[in-house]
Amino acid sequence: MPTVSMTVNGKAVASDVEGRTLLVDFLRENLRLTGTHVGCDTLQCGACVVHVNGDSVKACSMLALSAEGAEITTIEGIANPDGSLSVLQRAFQDHHGLQCGFCTPGMVMSAADLLKRNANPSEREVREWLEGNLCRCTGYHNIVKAILAAAAEMRGEKIAAE
């Protein structure tokens, strides 16, 4: 069986994998990083979004072996170094941006990529960016509010939660 090496949440990892193993299965099964969820495994729902070399990627859209040498960040690597929630994660909590929570890791990882590219997105830009992240509970409204609030806070503004 071939071996793959990559950096996950700042830590070098290496493991034997089968050729057909998806990145998402490698993260969940080999590394036991189960924060990255599998909703559909057909590139639709976005629950498995992680960052690959800084870009958001659906981890079911890549073979683990294709990630050789890559820098991966999962939802487990998003909190502050002291373990407290990041501004974006806290905004999801404060603005009730989740109900069942299944889509949340993917939502947070997609949103983190958006805010890195665009520090001041409009509501429309947030909604368009989330085209590939499906949520069956919230109707998206509070997710959008959470992302806009996080963006504002990261710019030094503060929006009160309802």
């Binding site: 071939p2 089968e18 050729g19 057909r20 998806l22 495994d41 057909t42 590139l43 639709q44 976005g46 979004v49 870009d55 958001s56 990627v57 659906k58 079911c60 859209s61 890549m62 073979l63 072996l65 294709s66 050789e68 997609s110 368009e128 960016w129 085209e131 590939g132 992240n133």
Partner: protein, 287 residues
């Protein structure tokens, strides 16, 4: 299943030639789903993303050479392509979702040979040429000759697409791609229409290419539709002729996403709108 990531085109061709059931992996957004659902069971997957030149967009004697592993996102973020071929760029921006565009490639879109592929009509309208390498050397074909039917291409065993070539853009030229879907995101085209136009000094259309997707077993180049526009200023009469020629070229299926009658009518409507958009772009650019 073996995974291989060769570093040269020659090594990739060797792998494709020496294995039965070898599949090329570019973005993987179609292949990995087919793999998971057991629709394909390749012995070897040949990942072409580590081959030099496959990930680059280069100047090509005033046109562009887009490597086969260039993602849709890299196309939508490329300023030069956006200025010269906005229609192709908007087609690339319609594939899947944000993250799917980060992986998916337009060459994969072409080789997957879905009749509803969004970038294929835009490539055909643009007059793109496909660079194919194989055991017997390299050949080049027009984009409209790449697919032969749903899921089928003209690629022979051992062959792979290396790049797409886009021609030099003439002054006063513009292109556009429009698709109809019943929702706003993440859907498969019910109809797609790509139009590319060039105009002379007097504002008359002197060159036109019109291509339709999802209305036939493969994307079609509609010569009669282009002929309806050439020599006109894209007035209402020419647009009506265009729509009729597009409707005549349709040979669609009836399915839950659109009936034959609906697809046939919408093809003409979209082609008209795309032609108007292409004309506006040709003059907005003021080249």
């Amino acid at each position: 299943m073996q995974y291989a990531a060769p570093q040269t085109v020659e090594a990739a061709i060797d792998l494709l030639t020496s294995h039965e059931g070898a599949h090329v992996l570019a973005g993987g957004t179609d292949l990995l789903v087919q793999l998971r659902s057991d629709r394909v069971a390749p012995e070897v997957i040949v990942d072409i993303k580590r081959i030099d030149g496959m990930k680059s967009i280069r100047d090509d004697s005033g046109g562009f050479r887009i490597g086969a592993a260039v993602s849709a996102a890299e196309i939508t973020e490329h300023a030069g392509l956006g200025a010269a071929w906005p229609g192709l760029v908007e087609a690339a921006g319609l594939i899947g979702s944000t993250q799917v565009q980060g992986r998916a490639t337009i060459v994969g879109n072409l080789c997957n040979a879905s009749p509803a592929a969004d970038t294929t009509p835009a490539l055909i309208a643009a007059g793109a040429r496909i660079v194919i390498s194989g055991p017997t050397g390299t050949r080049e074909i027009p984009a409209e000759e790449m697919t032969t039917g749903p899921g089928r291409t003209t690629l022979a065993k051992g062959e792979l697409v290396e790049a797409v070539r886009l021609p030099t853009r003439a002054a006063r030229s513009g292109d556009a791609y429009l698709r109809f879907i019943p929702r706003t995101e993440m859907d498969i085209a019910v109809v797609g229409a790509g139009v590319s136009l060039s105009f002379d000094d007097a504002g008359m259309c002197q060159a036109a290419r019109v291509a339709l997707g999802a209305v036939a077993p493969k994307a079609v180049l509609v010569a009669d539709a282009a002929a309806a526009l050439i020599g006109t200023a894209i007035d209402d009469a020419a647009l009506e002729q265009l729509a009729q020629a597009c409707a005549a070229a349709c040979n669609p299926i009836d399915d839950k996403r659109g009936t034959i009658e609906f697809r046939t009518q919408v093809a003409g409507v979209l082609a008209k709108r795309a032609a108007v958009a292409a004309k506006e772009r040709a003059f907005a650019a003021q080249k």
